[in-house]
Symmetry: C2
Subunit: 220 residues, 2 copies
Amino acid sequence: MPKVDVRERILSENDRIAAENRKLFDDARLLVLNLISSPGSGKTTLLEETLGRLPRQVRTLVIEGDVSTERDLDRVRARGAGGIQINTAGGCHLSAKMVAEALTQLELEDADLLFIENVGNLICPSTYDLGEDAKVVLLATTEGDDKPMKYPAIFHEAALAVINKIDLLPHLQYDVGKVRNEIEVLNSGCEIFELSALRGDGMDAWLAWIDARMAEKRDR
Amino acid sequence: MPKVDVRERILSENDRIAAENRKLFDDARLLVLNLISSPGSGKTTLLEETLGRLPRQVRTLVIEGDVSTERDLDRVRARGAGGIQINTAGGCHLSAKMVAEALTQLELEDADLLFIENVGNLICPSTYDLGEDAKVVLLATTEGDDKPMKYPAIFHEAALAVINKIDLLPHLQYDVGKVRNEIEVLNSGCEIFELSALRGDGMDAWLAWIDARMAEKRDR
């Protein structure tokens, strides 16, 4: 772990570049969502199913962050989204600088919506602003119902929490109410959706949330 | 992300302290296992069930690493293990220094086995030696079967990979053979066990592995 002053310098430099990214996004009236979760909570499956259900006229881009491989980008490309992969070469989060470099290869003016799928990690991505409009945190029911209080930072930051894999609830001991309560205690402004990206339950509410956010961004 | 030279200085300082920890462990002939996984893969449940099944004469200690809360320590204490909590206050991994400080509060000479449950994170803990005899990586079947190649560093380091939550396989699309192949490609020396800590399947092989490792350490 770097000494505190090194860490603060890195974060302040990150914030400066994030502000530049945010200006580009705002000028293009592009809604940008930063998806954060543990490995295997279902970020890429949620993206695949979202891309398959968004109205055809919504022009969508994806930035895929991974430690290694281009597997996730291949999956979202198969659903017709334009996008780009950032391989962090072992790095545990995306930074505003990595995103800024990726943006030089994307046509922001031609798009309405940009998903940034962060590296699978519930801790480090929480503190790095990328210039996004909102952080969306995913939790899977299969991870157990004690996670918000154990990993509080991301719940402080997120505008929306998605509880995914609810199709598996009949096979698990998982108290959705407890998870909702913990999130509420950490951040009463955080909206919460329950869904199964794989089976489709709850996708309409998520799509409506995105639609309302895009309208806000367009009309600003 | 710190500049490379800062990161290298931190890692080399970490290695120095890890070597001191290792000497303490070796002098006490104590087997030390560093458990690493994503949040919610089942590290604490595996510990609970292991503590419940180990022969009574095996004297076991636990160091619990968490970003926040003492929930996991409460769970292992309920199974009779002595132990201590390290709260990293947001930090994404345990360091050798954090462990060294915890060790001053434990009676190593009176113990045979020490579990260090790392912070829930599949990336950052991989590169920090704590002085352990072996790193054990857990994967849950519910996280999807594409994880080893996406998070290769920990599989290079681990002596053992545990594929947990096999009780849920009937409800998932998960190719165990694919996961085994990917681990084999990354590290042919890594042993692999499939188990369900919750239901008990496969626990005997895991307990036998621990027993053999303890015997090696005792007789060294």
